[in-house]
Structures are given as structure tokens and as C-alpha cells.
């Protein structure tokens, strides 16, 4: 079942095409990563799903229903550019954000209490936001995003602006929410967090989707069937021309293509040249795939 399903989405600003014939499906309960360079259309897509801006055409379904205003109750959104009312108390502020999402005051207060307790902010609840440290304000911001227990949580660059300690806390909270059945869609530049967090990803470039699928499948498809080798050579032997050859103090490293061979055969052959220090299949990181795909799409 898809919690979010987008078909043929188009959006233009004046002469600028932000999204062109865009399709996307997000399965329930997964962490979905939205990747793409600045200006690719990520934020436009996220804003359209949040009904902040109107689309020109296309279909958006939430749990199979056409997107409508009452869906805001089920969606949590942390924009890239975010803030709080500086002069407003932490608890009043969270209550307000919960209420405009559609929560009842009594219900919201219980949830606020438990969230503040959980993130060690309970003693600060009567303080104004301007009296908090930046890290604490960031936690409050996160609570404001999830206080209404959204089924779909949309995070635009969630780790930008967070210090490493808070980023870790937020990452763990995201995983906890996922365990509880929340679907999470996030856009990020931090590729290492993508590999760590995301089940599925989609790459956007210049208003088009250029790639999507599970992280595993994408990495598998990007396999080059090459192996990275570290070898302590037997002196005096003539060696074949190995690619990416680097001579170090007492060893060499290079890459080798299997060319239809089985890895074991390849390894045995290598053993003739000296002592194999490592023999490892080189799998490109998401970042490398990302850069490669973007370059490919620019070349087209």
C-alpha cells in the first residue's frame, strides 16, 4: 500500500519548470530519501505535498485518497528554513502547533508533556524560546513537527542546522518513529545518513526523476564487478597493467575487473604475484552513484 503516490506532477514558475511529469510512490512504513542538487525541485515537490503551493497538474494520493486540506492532520513537516515564535513559551508554542494541526487541547497537552520529558526539556517548558539554547530550540522544533503523530513525516534537510549531538538524537527519534509505523520522507545532502536511514530513495535533477528504488537495489545495479586489491609483490616479477595502480611503501593497490571470471579464480591468479593483503568488491557509495547519475543526466 502506498501512503503517497504521485502521478504526472507538473509545476512551473513563470518560465522556470520546477517539476516535469513527475511520478513517485512511497510505501508505508519506510524511510524514503529524496536526493538532488539545489534547485532540482525537491522543495517544490515537498511544498506541493504539504499543500503550501498549488500544482499545475498531476495527481497526488494520500493512502489512495486525493490530497485534500484535512490531510494536514496526518502529515508532519519540518521545512529546511524553520523557526519558532521567539517571545512565546515552549508549552504554549507546542500547543499552538498541535492545535492548528487539528489536535484537541487536552490531548495535545498530554503529548507535549511526554515529548518534553523524553527530550529532557520538561524544566524549560515555561521558558520563552529566546531564552533557550540553540540546541534546545531545535529539539522543540522537532517536537512541534511530530506532536500530532503524523502518519507521514516530511523532513526537508532535517540535519542542516543541527549540531552533531542533536543530529544523532534526531536520527534516533526518526528510527524510533519508523519502528512505530510512521512513514518518513526526507530530503538531504548528507549521503552517509541516506545510506544509514533510508530504505528507498529517489534522485531528482532538473525537475526530472532520474532514479528511484531501494538503496540495496540501486547499489547492486551500480556494481561494476571490479575488485579492489592490496598486494605485497614478490620482487623481480613482471606485473600486468593494473588499473588505478598505486605503489606504496611495501605494497601496491589497484583495481581489477573480473571479466567473466569467478572471484576465486581471480584471487588465485593474483596470489601468484605475491601476498594478497585485501581483495574486496568495490561497491560505489550512494554519493558516487548520485554524482555519476547527475553527470550522466547532464550529458544527455
Amino acid at each position: 500500500m502506498h501512503i503517497l503516490s504521485i502521478k504526472g506532477l507538473n509545476k512551473t514558475y513563470g518560465n522556470h519548470v520546477a517539476l516535469k511529469n513527475f511520478d513517485l510512490e512511497v510505501e508505508k512504513g519506510m524511510v524514503f530519501g529524496l536526493l538532488g542538487p539545489n534547485g532540482a525541485g525537491k522543495t517544490t515537490l515537498i511544498r506541493i505535498v504539504n499543500q503550501i503551493i498549488d500544482r499545475d497538474s498531476g495527481e497526488i494520493l494520500i493512502n489512495g485518497e486525493p490530497l485534500k486540506m484535512s490531510h494536514v492532520r496526518n502529515i508532519g513537516y519540518l521545512p529546511e528554513e524553520r523557526g519558532l515564535y521567539k517571545g512565546m513559551r515552549v508549552d504554549d508554542q507546542l500547543l499552538y502547533f498541535a492545535q492548528i494541526k487539528g489536535l484537541k487541547a487536552t490531548e495535545a497537552k498530554v503529548k507535549i508533556h511526554s515529548w518534553l520529558e523524553r527530550l529532557n526539556l520538561l524544566s524549560w517548558k515555561n521558558m520563552k524560546v529566546e531564552e533557550l539554547s540553540k540546541g534546545m530550540a531545535q529539539k522543540v522544533q522537532f517536537i512541534a513537527t511530530v506532536i500530532h503523530e503524523p502518519k507521514l513525516l516530511i523532513l526537508d534537510e532535517p540535519f542542516s542546522g543541527f549540531d552533531p549531538v542533536n543530529a544523532e538524537i534526531i536520527k534516533n527519534e526518526i528510527l524510533e518513529l519508523k519502528r512505530n509505523g510512521t512513514t518518513i520522507m526526507l530530503s538531504t545532502h548528507r549521503m552517509e545518513s541516506v545510506e544509514l536511514l533510508c530504505d528507498n530513495i529517489a534522485m531528482i535533477n532538473r525537475s526530472h526523476k532520474i532514479l528511484d528504488g531501494t538503496v540495496k537495489a540501486i547499489k547492486k545495479a551500480s556494481k561494476t564487478n571490479r575488485f579492489a586489491v592490496g598486494l605485497r609483490l614478490i620482487p623481480g616479477l613482471e606485473i600486468p597493467t593494473w588499473e588505478d595502480l598505486i605503489e606504496e611503501e611495501d605494497c601496491v593497490t589497484f583495481t581489477i575487473a573480473l571479466d567473466g571470471q569467478r572471484p576465486n579464480d581471480c584471487l588465485m591468479e593474483l596470489m601468484n604475484y605475491g601476498e594478497v593483503l585485501h581483495f574486496e568488491e568495490s561497491i560505489p557509495s550512494i554519493e558516487e552513484i548520485f554524482i555519476q547519475k547527475i553527470n550522466e543526466s547532464h550529458a544527455e
Binding site: G14, R47, N50, Q51, I52, I53, M69, V72, I75, Y77, L78, P79, E81, R82, G83, L84, Y85, K86, G87, M88, Y96, F97, Q99, I100, K101, A144, T145
Partner: protein, 436 residues
């Protein structure tokens, strides 16, 4: 989802009303104004009496102009020469001296007034009218009318103005009261729109620059957010006004009581009464005062005040919100203030120059019909009485104007709040309205 507008209204209202600056301003302002009034009264009181009347030496070469002293001027006739009189003025023994040379009554010229300081308009015109009356009197006497007849000719006249209602009811009206009502309510509406309109703008800029707005509009419609803010701040203003009215009334009564004076509205009534001062003692005139008060149609006055007060605020409030959304900081807002300030100023100036002067002129009519000027200008007419059809037309146009400004402002607002760091000009705004 009107419920969400209410949530915004509540937040905007409470966030402001709870502020220390609001509480201080709300309590101090009513204390400051009566205090200033008190200081003036105190200065005024110590300035009244004989020594405040101006002693004026008259050098009359005709030996004919015996001007009667009054509360403003005390004329003395010392049969001095011009040089002697000048000296007296220079020494400060006299406020000034009036030189009346040999006059040709048909064309009196050459009359001069010498004073140590430049006399105010009221002094000069006071002297002029005193001389005019005197010259006319002499002319009449010269033409053969005897003094007895002349004294009989002097009559005190005051016109009792009665407004004939369409239903045939007669209401005793009074121009001074009507003028004051139009004047005060016009200024109140004008001030309210500006002060609280600016707060709307500031609030929108705050939400935009602190980047809260994107979170907000993911939960409610930009239009709900805008209307909630406009209504919430309007409610803050109304609260403040209400507290002010109560407090100013209380404090003024105390201060006036201290100086043994009457409240401004009582004084107004005094001026309004045909004989001027002293009506309290004159039992016979009391019913007339009551008639005057009854003549003021409080219900329609208060009702139209509220309609134009709220209508004008809402009409311009949307503008202020749109300006706030289009810019990144209050200093950038200046360039867009023009279309807001100009019509408001036209209404304001129009109120003083045309409407209060002649409420039924063509200019006054248009000022009170066009929705951008009507909130300020119409109140100047309402107090004098306006045909119902014109009121209905004006209010209808005001409501349409409100819908129009809110509609177009909403479009600017919706896009503007998400635009950062771009220089926005009128062309951009027009594009935003068109594109949506």
C-alpha cells in the same frame, strides 16, 4: 475551517495582550493625556483673570472711537501722543497701542496697532471687529438714527438648527457637536488603521523572517493565517481602545474635578447652548440641552462608527499584511506604503477641508462613497445626517472594497511569505496577483 482562523486569532491576541509593553502602554497612555491636560489647565488657570486681559492704549485723533472693554481687551484713553504711547508699550506698561488717525468714515485707512510682540490672529481680528462695529455705529448715528433706536437694533440671535428626518421626525441638531463627533471619530479611525495596520505588517514580517511561516502554512491556509492575524490584532486594538476610553474618562473626571471644571462633553454642551456660558444656572434652557442630546442619533452614530471603524481597518489591514509578506524587513516596506498612505491621507485631509466644512457637497459625497476614503470621511457626514440610501451604497462599496483588497492581498501574501532575498517591486506584485 473557521476553527483554525480562531486559533490564529487567539494566538495573535494573547501574544500581544500578555506583553509587558502592551500593559504599560495601555495603562500609561490614559494617564499621560489627562496629565498633560491637567498641566495646561493649571497654566491656563493661573493665567486667567484681569491680568490676562490685554491693556491697550488708544490714541484716537478723531476723539470719537470709545471702544468698550471686554474680557479680551481693556482699552484705556490717556490722551497721549503717539510717541508717549509708544514709550508705554516699550516699557511694558501696555500690551500695545492702537493708533486711529483722522478717518474718512467712507474709506477708513491708516489704523495701526503697535505691540512689543507680534499679535496673534485673534487679537488683530478682535480689534478689527470692535472697530468695525464702532464705525458702523457712528455711520448710523451720522445718518440720523438716534442712540435709543440704535440700542434697540442690537439683538442677540442664535439659530436653533433642526434636522428634518425623512420620516418627518424633527431633531434638534447642533453644528458644533456634529463637527466634534465627525472630527473625533474620523481621527480615531485614521489613527487606528495606521497604528494597528503597522502591527499587522510587523507581525507578518516577523513570521516571515523567523521562518515560522512555512510550518504554519503547512497546517492552515495562508488566507486563514492572514485573516487570523488581521482579526486578532484588530481585537487587540479594540481592547486597548476600550480600556483607554474607560481610564481616560475616569482620570479626566478626577483631574477636572480637582480643578473644579466640567468634562469636555459638558463644555461642549455649554458652547452648544445658544447663550453660551452659564446654562447650568439658567433653568429654562435645560430642556433645550436635553433636546440636543436627544437629537443625536446615538444608535446609528455608534453603529456607523463601528461599521466604518472595522470596515476601514479590515480593508487596509489586508494591504498591510500583503506589504509585510512582500518584503524581508520593515525598512523595505517603505516603498510599498505609498498606495496605503495616499488614499488614507486623502480621506483624512478631505474630512477636514471638505466634509466637515460642507458635509453635503459633491466632493464630500464622493469621499464618503469611495471605499478607500469612506471609513475616515463618512464619519464626518454621518454626524450631520446622511440619507440612508447613501449610507447603504457606501457600506456596500466598503464591503466590496474589503473583499477586493483581501482577495488581491491574499494572493500577494500567499507567494510573498515564501520568497526570501528577492527584490520585489510593483511589477512583481502584479505578477503574483495575476499568476495565482
Amino acid at each position: 475551517m473557521p476553527n483554525k482562523i480562531f486559533l490564529v486569532v487567539k494566538r495573535e491576541y494573547l501574544a500581544r495582550v500578555k506583553k509587558r509593553s502592551f500593559i504599560v502602554a495601555t495603562i500609561l497612555t490614559p494617564l499621560i493625556f489627562p496629565s498633560i491636560l491637567g498641566v495646561f489647565l493649571w497654566i491656563g488657570m493661573s493665567d486667567t483673570g484681569i491680568d490676562s486681559a490685554r491693556f491697550i492704549e488708544v490714541v484716537d485723533d478723531n476723539q470719537e472711537f470709545f471702544l468698550e472693554s471686554n474680557e479680551l481687551f481693556v482699552f484705556s484713553y490717556g490722551s497721549l501722543t503717539v510717541a508717549e504711547a509708544k514709550e508705554m508699550v516699550q516699557k511694558g506698561n501696555r500690551y500695545g497701542f492702537l493708533h486711529i488717525p483722522k478717518l474718512d468714515l467712507a474709506a477708513p485707512t491708516g489704523i495701526a496697532f503697535y505691540a512689543a510682540e507680534t499679535p496673534g490672529m485673534s487679537v488683530v481680528s478682535g480689534l478689527e471687529s470692535a472697530l468695525k462695529v464702532k464705525i458702523e455705529e457712528i455711520k448710523l448715528l451720522n445718518s440720523g438714527i438716534n442712540r435709543e433706536l440704535l440700542n434697540k437694533l442690537k439683538t442677540a440671535v442664535s439659530i436653533r438648527s433642526i434636522r428634518l428626518g425623512q420620516t418627518g421626525n424633527e431633531a434638534v441638531s447642533n453644528t458644533v457637536i456634529n463637527y466634534a463627533i465627525g472630527f473625533i471619530s474620523g481621527i480615531l479611525i485614521y489613527t487606528f488603521i495606521f497604528v494597528y495596520g503597522n502591527q499587522i505588517m510587523q507581525g507578518v514580517i516577523e513570521e516571515k523572517s523567523s521562518r515560522i511561516v512555512e510550518i504554519l502554512v503547512s497546517s492552515l491556509k495562508p488566507f486563514q493565517l492572514m485573516m487570523g492575524k488581521i482579526i486578532g490584532i484588530g481585537a487587540v486594538g479594540l481592547t486597548q481602545f476600550l480600556i483607554w476610553i474607560v481610564l481616560i474618562g475616569l482620570v479626566s473626571t478626577i483631574i477636572m474635578g480637582f480643578f473644579g471644571m466640567k468634562m469636555p462633553q459638558q463644555e461642549l454642551m455649554e458652547q452648544a447652548s445658544p447663550e453660551g456660558m452659564g446654562w447650568m444656572s439658567a433653568q429654562t434652557e435645560l430642556p433645550e440641552i436635553l433636546q440636543l442630546i436627544q437629537g443625536i442619533d446615538f444608535f446609528s452614530l455608534v453603529l456607523s462608527f463601528l461599521i466604518y471603524f472595522i470596515g476601514g481597518y479590515l480593508l487596509y489591514g489586508a494591504f498591510f499584511a500583503a506589504i509585510g509578506a512582500a518584503v524581508d524587513s520593515p525598512s523595505d516596506a517603505q516603498q510599498f506604503m505609498f498606495p496605503v498612505t495616499i488614499p488614507l491621507l486623502v480621506g483624512y485631509m478631505g474630512l477636514f477641508i471638505f466634509v466637515l466644512d460642507d458635509p453635503n457637497s459633491k466632493v464630500s459625497y464622493w469621499l464618503s462613497i469611495v471605499p478607500f476614503t469612506s471609513p475616515v470621511a463618512m464619519m464626518g457626514r454621518v454626524s450631520f445626517g446622511v440619507p440612508l440610501s447613501e449610507l447603504v451604497l457606501s457600506v456596500t462599496l466598503l464591503v466590496l472594497g474589503f473583499l477586493f483588497t483581501t482577495w488581491s492581498a491574499g494572493k500577494i501574501y500567499k507567494i510573498g511569505i515564501l520568497v526570501h532575498g528577492t527584490k520585489v517591486n510593483y511589477k512583481t506584485l502584479w505578477k503574483w496577483i495575476k499568476e495565482n
